[in-house]
């Protein structure tokens, strides 16, 4: 008996379900999902007043049956729903963002501070409301950080502009000596109004924007978005296009893992690792450009199919073998290098129990025994025929996150060859059916960092009415805080890199 059995959710795709209920039922449902070992993946809101309704809160749960998109209608005046962060702590920041953007309140939430709003709009304005036409203002209400007091405690504020080439965010360390007592993140700096920007766009332009929610996960976002649009419109995507999307997704995973493994070496002073892995990554990117016309495959996934074909697949498959050989050699160095092992092991630990409690996901989750990978448990075509091997670990430290990357890198290189072998000739793209009434769909793709979920509503005019792209970083950022506790400040860069979370993806 699972949480959803008595509620009869509607099947809206393979492993994808939809359920509408009253907001008051949400906490009970969340408790039941939790008891079943499920997770809360995403939470957002929508302004549905132009559709003759009020507002709505949307929650996506991961359950034994797959992904369940739950929506609850809310009043047009003072919309509110019961807090879910008490059951699923990862909902906290999502609820705060939903308040900032839409003025929908999570009643009874312990943390009611703003999240994505800094100073660009006033506290009583909500830019994702359809009738928001506010000019930018500069408000300067301060952000109340949690203070840590005591003998010898002091604070190190870092950012938003960091010393390295990374995205902007603010980290506030409270430390004693070199040990971190508390780390508090303040994100939202790269908030650039993506969700509002989607509104009124045609579906093709929307795909380009979706791919730029977090550029390092371009393919995953573009695919999840297209999956949602195709589900909403009832489009039939040609099989070859789906094979190519899987190929692109694995190419993206390989590129990111190569880069991260190099930086992980660099962060513990093994610049040999940086140079070797980035040499491989650069060759990989050049190959992507030669084969598909873009180093990061931007805009190659489009609604209804793909915009690039594979010619000369056997050369790519052979190249994968050569890369795997090189990575094996480099892994031998990482395995043997005492200094690197010493810095990686027992650093930045996220224990499996805490990971489960707070919802750690994606590759970081798998390094802490959270054995979820949509390609394995809930595969879409063509993954349903590929038998992907999941990489997991129990240590939950930097070493485990590096090990999972190595394992997934080898697996992706293997999958690429399988995909090339499995592909049949065929069309690359189908037209989207004409839209005549508002319609909705959701997409779910296992990106290199974790699950990318995109929910889409098209209006009767066939243009985008509401799009919510959801990054796995929402769930993992809070665990970077806890994983840093008790470590020394100089280890923070390697801990941070081992998670490698997206700022842009959660700032939106």
């Amino acid at each position: 008996m699972s949480a959803f059995d008595s509620l009869n959710p509607q099947a809206i795709g393979k492993h994808l379900w939809r359920l509408r209920l009253a907001a008051a039922q949400l906490p009970g449902l969340a408790e039941a999902v939790r008891e079943d070992g499920g997770q809360l993946v995403a939470l957002w809101g929508s302004d549905d007043r132009h559709l003759g309704a009020g507002y709505a809160v949307h929650v996506v749960f991961l359950a034994a049956r797959g992904l369940v998109w739950v929506s609850a209608g809310l009043a047009a005046e003072a919309p509110a729903y019961p807090d879910l962060a008490a059951v699923f702590p990862q909902a906290g920041r999502m609820q705060r963002a939903t308040w900032d953007l839409l003025g929908i309140r999570a009643e009874g939430a312990a943390d009611g501070r703003k999240w994505l709003r800094h100073g660009a709009w006033p506290a009583d304005a909500h830019p994702l409301r359809k009738d928001y036409a506010g000019e930018p203002v500069r408000e300067t209400d301060a952000y109340p950080f949690v203070r840590v007091a005591g003998d010898g405690v002091h604070e190190i504020p870092v950012g938003p502009i960091h010393a390295g080439v990374i995205e902007p965010g603010h980290f506030r360390f409270s430390i004693i000596g070199e040990r971190v007592l508390k780390l508090e993140e303040r994100l939202g700096y790269t908030h650039k109004g993506i969700e509002k920007r989607f509104e009124g766009m045609d579906p093709d332009t929307g795909a380009r924007l979706a791919g730029r929610v977090s550029g390092d996960s371009h393919v995953a976002y573009a695919w999840a978005y297209c999956m949602a649009v195709e589900a909403a419109t009832g489009a039939q995507v040609p099989e070859r296009a789906l094979w190519l999307r899987a190929l692109f997704l694995e190419i993206e995973r390989v590129a990111n893992h190569l880069g991260d493994l190099g930086y992980l070496g660099n962060d513990v002073a093994l610049s040999f690792g940086l140079n070797q892995f980035w040499r491989l990554k650069e060759e990989w990117l050049r190959l992507s450009e030669a084969l598909f016309g873009h180093r990061y495959l931007f805009d190659r996934v489009v609604p209804g199919g793909v915009a690039a074909d594979l010619v000369g697949g056997s050369a790519l498959a052979e190249y994968c073998l050569a890369v795997a050989d090189e990575v094996r050699e480099l892994k031998a160095v990482y395995d043997e290098h005492a200094g690197l092992q010493d810095r990686f092991a027992n650093t930045g630990i996220c224990a499996p129990e805490l990971a489960a409690r707070l919802g750690l996901t994606g590759l970081a989750g798998r390094a802490s025994a959270q054995a979820w990978d949509a390609r394995v448990q809930f595969p879409q075509f063509p993954y349903d025929g590929l038998e992907v091997n999941m990489a997991t670990h129990r240590r939950g430290d930097v070493l485990a996150r590096a090990e999972v990357r190595f394992a997934e890198l080898f697996e992706s290189l293997r999958l690429i060859a399988e995909i090339i072998a499995g592909m049949q000739e065929g069309a690359l793209r189908a037209d989207l059916p004409q839209v005549t009434a508002p319609c909705e769909g959701i997409g779910w793709v296992e990106g290199w960092r974790g699950e990318i979920v995109v929910a889409v509503r098209l209006g009767a005019d066939g243009r985008l009415d509401r799009v919510h792209p959801h990054d796995p970083s929402w769930r993992n950022w809070p665990l970077l805080e806890t994983s840093t506790l008790g470590n020394i400040v100089p280890d923070f860069p390697v801990i941070n890199k081992s998670f490698n979370l997206s700022y842009s993806g959660q700032d939106l």
Binding site: P160, V165, T190, R212, G215
Partner: protein, 172 residues
């Protein structure tokens, strides 16, 4: 043991650095009033500070890629530095989110003269797909003075390197 493996791999890999591209004068957006004196002081060395002003992180991927051994940028005298106080060039990405507008202006002010600003990517050049909105200012040039704009989404490492060289080399 590890040292042995490292040396073996280094020998096997050989030298992968490639010759540098030429500076692209077409990227220049305003007349460079560079004095011979500055050029002399600069020589070939230039320090760059990257500022992410709200990018999608795609441009950052290419800045990282520029540090791959194939490009050998330190050999060319281009070095990324940690503080704006130590640099000649600010390399700015993104459609300048309003939440970073102040930080960008402060970074610009903290950079000593003479300084050059390179706006990177379609976002930095025009606001890109994100455009100007309640949350974004649009192009970098609307927020701080820009010397060189490098379009692309993201621009390739070669285009980026050409842009940086164009910024500091004046008519060279």
């Amino acid at each position: 043991m590890a040292a042995h493996l490292i040396l073996q791999k280094i020998l096997k890999t050989g030298r992968v650095s490639e010759p540098a591209p030429a500076a692209d004068p077409a990227l220049r957006t305003r007349v460079q009033a560079l004095q011979a004196e500055i050029l002399r002081v600069f020589g070939q060395a230039v320090a760059v500070r990257h500022v992410d002003a709200g990018s999608c992180n795609g441009c950052e991927l290419e800045i990282h890629a520029l540090n791959a051994p194939q490009y050998n940028i330190e050999g060319l005298g281009v070095k990324f530095a940690a503080s704006p106080r130590h640099v000649d060039v600010l390399l700015v990405t993104g459609p300048v989110s309003r939440n970073l507008e102040t930080a960008l202006k402060r970074t610009y002010e903290a950079t000593p003269e003479p300084k050059w600003v390179v706006a990177m990517g379609d976002c930095g050049c025009t606001g890109g797909l994100f455009g100007a909105s309640y949350a974004a200012c649009g192009r970098v040039a609307d927020v701080i003075p820009v010397d060189v704009e490098v379009p692309g989404c993201p621009p390739t490492p070669t285009a980026l390197l050409q842009g940086i060289l164009a910024a500091v080399s004046g008519g060279r």
